[in-house]
């Protein structure tokens, strides 16, 4: 049985079902990260002393990772645009770059940020600042990992759909892109909140 409205928009919603699904999922993600941001505000405003992020975290590396995620958002949207222009080779290139940049983000995060913190015995249990720092950035890193896995599937085995159902494949890449941009969006708020303030 064919799943309806995977390609054409549903008449009553004006969008295909996958897009409505990803927006509802992203709404739940807003609440998840929103709850943690609210927790951060509560912890910070309730604390007698709060360490300055720039004194405890590596701002140049955080800035570098911010730029990596922004560039990966561009390559992701270019992957989608390449498919819209029926250029599959460029799609593979841009999607491959997006995956590479996602992995680079995680390498910087884990090897050059988390590892030195652990070496200096800074753990989530050290204090409230490091507790919320590791929870927020750790959850975000898991989202990046999830995005890499999904994008990796669409770069590799999942890309076979391009030959059989090109418009459905374009829609899938658009959906994967919406998720990836959301992950970028979350980092845009995490970076100044944790690293600079």
């Amino acid at each position: 049985m064919e799943i309806p409205y995977t390609v054409s928009p549903r008449p009553d919603t004006g969008i295909h079902n996958g897009k409505l699904g990803i927006w509802l999922f992203l709404a739940s993600e807003v609440m998840l990260f929103g709850a943690l941001f609210s927790t951060y505000i509560l912890l910070r405003t309730s604390a007698i002393d709060w360490p300055l992020g720039s004194d405890n975290l590596n701002v140049p590396l955080g800035t570098f990772n911010t730029l990596i995620l922004i560039i990966s958002s561009v390559t992701m949207v270019m992957a989608w645009a390449s498919l819209m222009m029926k250029d599959f080779k460029k799609y593979k290139l841009y999607m491959g770059l997006t995956i590479f940049l996602g992995i680079l983000f995680l390498v910087v995060k884990i090897a050059f940020e988390y590892a030195p913190k652990f070496a200096h015995h800074h753990y989530p249990s050290t204090n409230t600042f490091f507790g919320i720092y590791f929870v927020l950035t750790g959850l975000h890193a898991l989202h990046v990992l999830g995005g890499i896995l999904v994008n990796g599937y669409f770069w590799g085995p999942g890309s076979k759909m391009w030959k059989k159902a090109p418009q459905q494949f374009i829609n899938r890449i658009e959906i994967a892109g919406l998720y990836w941009h959301f992950v970028d969006l979350v980092w845009i708020f995490l970076f100044p909140t944790l690293y600079l303030l």
């Binding site: 927006w23 509560l42 100044p192």
Partner: protein, 102 residues
């Protein structure tokens, strides 16, 4: 974005590149602004304003929110409303914290 022709996509690509430039500049501005010698409250306000502008650029241009259907806006409006309700509930416990400390 369905049925978008090639010319329209090329126009979008130009917008993506302008957006990227703006995001890169604003990232540098965020870091520079954090080094200004201002009060904590002012620093938080400046950083959040810049982050909101950057977020709007990502959501509007990369996620195509500037040209999305009404239903998506409705989902987001409900989400933002519920987020603020949650924020108010969580922040309403600040007084409890202060009382327990004193």
């Amino acid at each position: 974005m369905e049925n978008t022709d090639v010319q329209e996509v090329k126009r979008h690509i130009r917008v993506y590149l302008y957006t990227f430039s703006a995001l890169a500049v604003l990232t540098v501005v965020t870091v520079a602004a954090a080094s200004l010698n201002v009060a904590v409250g002012t620093g938080i306000f400046i950083a959040m304003v810049i982050a909101t502008v950057k977020g709007t650029l990502v959501a509007g241009n990369f996620m195509h929110l500037f040209s999305e259907k009404k239903l998506v806006y409705l989902v987001l409006i409900i989400t933002v409303f519920l987020f603020f309700v949650m924020l108010c509930i969580i922040l309403s416990t600040i007084n409890d914290q202060v009382l327990s400390v004193s």
